[in-house]
Point group: none
Chain length 225, copies 2
DNA sequence: CAATTTCGTTAATATTGCCTTAACCCTGAT
DNA sequence: ATCAGGGTTAAGGCAATATTAACGAAATTG
């Protein structure tokens, strides 16, 4: 898969440096020099990742972020900000209004490349992606923030419970076999007994509602709103 | 509002050029020809923005930057460096000495003006500097003055503690992973052990209240009023 | 510029709470 | 009734986190 990265900064030097390093790694790169152009470039280029300076003339990074997020295709792209370290985190309120992450200036090419790879890897996993929103009951799962909201009530589930829940909710109504669950949540190599799954299901039922998790005897479990 | 800009460079030509272009846009401009004079000019002129060459006789830009930052009124001003193209070293050192941004020489007047406008726009945002006010406990964070007020009690937190707090408070309820925290507070390249975060969390809990900072085992921390 | 204080980090030790399991219970099918 | 598959509960291990103290570095002070 060809990954497309959009770079946005008002300084040509930085654009050149970053572009060179990313293209060397095989990414397809386009650039824009301010927020307004970035929004346009996003629409035509449709990148998976946008790397954007916060401060720019014309339209700053956060403004552009908001506009892109408002576009119909704008919800899937990962937006990361370039910022000076120790810069105002309030400006980074970006993550509330749609920014995913950021990287501190000055940027070391090696660090940049590894972070970009991590971001794109994350993007790849976006089929059972971040937000599973189930209309009946208003259950919302945010993998990035490790948050689960059920009818407005916020839960902080332990890791395994969270992962199990995320798996089941990723395909409501689908039955997951015990074997499949073990592979997905615990990994191929870890060996745990069958009761372990039961216990975790129990905890989820306790916290989120008995009726949401249905047992299919001899097969596995499924989530149903 | 009248915006005041202090230009610092040892070349009169450059001072004249920049001054002309900025005054044309309605900014109030003063100039200084080296770092030492810049510090003096800053104290009397009290500009919102300083545009300063890195390399100058008497006292260079970074030294001047540090001195200005040390002044009581020196934390609010935005300091931007003028640097030669591709001068990586000065960029980095500039950030470390407290510079906010930089602009590359040769300077194009149009670019300059738009950047100055962006900087001053940011300055305006900074001045309603009370950034996070959490109603449920009267926690107020003033990022410019490095002050934290909790129920009327004023704290002067050390840098790292303050930054960690600012990060967590920037999105109450959101869980921040340890990795994310390290990137945000310590930077991409600095390597510190995991216990370091714990210790800082501990200090915040001591000072502001045990219950405000919740641990999500295996994941990270979150702030909750 | 030495003396002193404060900050950031780590090492060492204690503690917590998640994960797992063992033991036992329940249910429905044969 | 027996059995298979799952449910439930509590307890213990153990990895993750908490805590404390101590050290060097930086900042501050006299």
């Amino acid at each position: 898969m060809q990954f497309k990265v959009l770079l946005v900064d008002d300084e040509q030097d930085i654009l050149d440096l970053l572009k060179y390093n990313l293209e060397k790694e095989g990414f397809v790169v386009e650039t824009a020099s301010n927020g307004r152009l970035a929004v346009q470039a996003f629409e035509s280029f449709q990148p998976q990742l946008i790397l954007m300076d916060v401060m720019m003339p014309e339209m700053d990074g956060m403004e552009a972020c908001r506009e892109i997020r408002d576009l119909p295709q704008g919800s899937d792209v990962i937006i990361a900000f370039l910022t000076a370290r120790n810069e105002d985190y309030s400006q980074m309120a970006g993550f509330e209004s749609g920014g995913d992450d950021y990287i501190a200036k000055p940027i070391k090419p090696r660090i940049l490349v590894s972070k970009v790879k991590a971001w794109l890897k994350r993007w790849e996993q976006k089929t059972d992606h971040i937000i599973a929103e189930v209309s009946t009951g208003g259950l919302v799962i945010d993998k990035e923030k490790y948050l689960v909201t059920n009818n407005g009530e916020v839960f902080n589930l332990p890791k395994k419970e969270f992962e199990l829940l995320a798996l089941l909710v990723s395909a409501p109504g689908r039955v997951f076999t015990r074997e499949y669950i073990l592979n997905a949540v615990w990994g191929n190599d870890v060996i745990v007994g069958d009761r372990t799954i039961d216990v975790h299901i129990r905890k989820l039922r306790e916290k989120l509602g008995e009726e949401l998790f249905k047992t299919i005897k001899g097969v596995g479990y499924k989530f149903e709103p």
